[in-house]
């Protein structure tokens, strides 16, 4: 299939607007992607036609809503090739998914002396929950460092010890774009007797991810980074582990019997879905997966790969700009830095050209320390971005550099 970007762009109404008087160029997809019409429609149409609370409803509307909600679960299951739909727990996002595991697995099963291992390139959402587990259980935090070029050190195995009981690692860095060798890490973790969680917030939207092939114990991602509505995320877990865990949130739907003094839990996946779920958002996530499947996740990946390589080459024209990360094994994220222009000033000037990028620590402060910068400017791509947009970005940066270093020589 050839990738007809112009046609694809037509599916994204938000792209057709001007920002600061220029055509909008949206390059903040690692923060959140845009939504195609079909997803927006799936949500509106649910509210217009099928809206009802789910499970336990005996009326037609409620039945329809339940079927659509559970259908979406099966779509997610198939998308990441999980064995059972009971493995798919809907949350409000990656952050909640990780917290669920930290509370219900970490605080339950980790003991003083155990070690939790993560990497130096984790997102705060995959750091802070584990710090809390360490604080409450008395276990230790260790991390795998990264190299100067922004990849996991090659001898990452050396950071495992007999005490390593849990590994939490990102599939793809949200700053560097580096893709980690998670399959090897998962195998090694299991050899060492550790459980492992993969933060797939930046991988599932962009590449084919197969949880059975990977073999991970947990995998987490967010809908809003893959065309779906805000307010929905996924926790995949192996059912035997999920079954062994206590629930996280308590309330309606997650119990099978409640007395005034104690209660019994419901089966998976309901045990972990307390209260009225984010029904419309889950259905929207199903529609997003349909959209991605229509394009083909491999075609998306291929297109993004070529676009990234193009962008990396174009950035080479900018002498004083350093792009972090390697050329190989990287996703469509470009974090860059200029000695002369602070990342926020850079982003502000790009904004004036209608270009939406992100400046800051990208919720990865430990990584910023490692890179010895307070912040970076980050352009992150999705399949609706184009080479023309990259050209405009690079041109705009050129102008900004001029303003800051040429125009403003001390008088």
């Amino acid at each position: 299939m050839t990738f007809d970007v112009d046609k694809i762009r037509n599916d994204f109404p938000v792209l057709f607007q001007s920002s600061r008087g220029k055509p909008l160029i949206y390059l903040d997809n690692a923060a959140t992607t845009q939504r195609p019409k079909s997803v927006i429609k799936a949500v509106s149409s649910f509210y217009e036609n099928d809206n009802a609370n789910i499970h336990r409803s005996v009326y037609e509307l409620g039945e329809r809503a339940t079927i659509k909600y559970e259908d979406a679960r099966v779509k997610v299951q198939k998308f990441i090739n999980a064995e059972k739909s009971a493995s798919i727990i809907f949350t409000k996002g990656t952050t909640e998914s990780i917290n669920l595991v930290a509370y219900a697995y970490g605080r339950t099963f980790l003991k003083p002396g155990d070690e939790i291992l993560y990497s130096e390139m984790e997102h705060h959402s995959n750091i802070v929950p584990w710090q809390q587990v360490a604080e409450t259980t008395g276990c230790q935090l260790k991390y795998i460092p990264i190299t100067d070029d922004g990849t996991l050190v090659e001898d990452w195995r050396n950071y495992f010890s007999e005490k390593t009981k849990f590994v939490a690692i990102t599939h793809q860095s949200n700053v560097l774009g580096s893709i980690n060798p998670v399959k090897d890490i998962i195998t090694y973790a299991h050899d060492k007797g550790a459980k492992i969680l993969i933060d797939a917030a930046q991988s599932v939207p962009h590449m084919s991810v197969d949880v059975q092939n990977l073999g991970c114990d947990f995998l987490v991602f967010s809908g809003h980074k893959m065309l779906a509505p805000t307010g929905v995320g996924v926790l995949y877990g192996k059912t035997d582990i999920l079954n062994a865990m206590p629930p996280f949130l308590f309330g309606g739907d997650m119990i099978s019997q409640v007395g005034l003094q104690s209660s019994k839990w419901n089966d998976l996946p309901h045990k972990f879905e307390a209260g009225t779920p984010n029904i419309a958002q889950v259905i929207g996530l199903g529609a997003a997966i349909d959209y991605i499947n229509e394009l083909g996740i491999d075609s998306i990946h291929q297109y993004e790969h070529e676009l990234t390589q193009y962008a990396l080459s174009k950035f080479e024209e900018l002498d004083t700009i350093k792009v972090f990360g390697t050329r190989e094994n990287r996703g469509a994220i470009l974090s860059f830095h200029s000695e002369f222009v602070h990342p926020h000033d850079m982003a502000q000037f790009l904004d004036a050209d209608g270009i939406a990028v992100r400046a800051g620590h990208h919720c990865a402060q430990p990584l910023m320390e490692r890179l010895r910068v307070p912040a970076t400017t980050r352009a992150s791509l999705y399949f609706y971005n184009t080479r023309e947009e990259i050209d405009i970005l690079v041109n705009s940066i050129k102008n900004i550099l001029k303003i800051f270093s040429v125009e403003s020589q001390p008088k």
Binding site: H361, M368, P374
Partner: protein
């Protein structure tokens, strides 16, 4: 870029490259560290006071052009001023960058930062050195 030029007046870009009073003061009685959680930048203000007059003041740290310019202008303006005068300068500046309103006593140097009020996320950049200084002068520095 018309609008942006209001935010980034030429002088702001200059200050970002040649900040004023950008140094430490050894054994300053007043030293305060401020941090902008929105971006991860920080600033440290050093000051000496004699008879309620700001004798010397300087800053260090990493930050954007707005924050460096703001710190440069601030340190230049408050040096030699009484603590009361500094407080009312702060009040006026705070008002300027959150609402865009000026007042007659305001130094024209401050006015170059007037465009900031249109960029809510950048207000913190401009005010950070000021907040940090005020905390430092009052010895109410939460970070110490």
């Amino acid at each position: 870029m018309e609008n942006l030029r209001e935010l980034y007046q030429q002088i702001i870009i200059e200050y970002s490259q040649k900040p004023r009073n950008f140094r430490t003061i050894e054994n300053a009685e007043h030293e305060c560290h401020g941090h902008n959680p929105l971006c991860g930048d920080d600033v440290t203000i050093y000051a000496t006071i004699e008879n309620d007059i700001v004798k010397d003041i300087s800053f260090m740290g990493s930050g954007c052009a707005i924050s460096k310019a703001s710190a440069s202008i601030m340190t230049t303006l408050v040096k030699g001023k009484s603590l009361d005068a500094v407080q009312s300068m702060f009040d006026g500046f705070h008002n300027l960058i959150t609402t865009g309103e000026t007042n007659e006593d305001m130094s024209s140097k401050l006015l170059v930062l007037g465009g900031v009020h249109k960029y809510p996320v950048r207000v913190k950049c401009a005010i950070l050195p000021w907040h940090t200084m005020m905390n430092g002068l009052k010895n109410e520095c939460p970070d110490n």
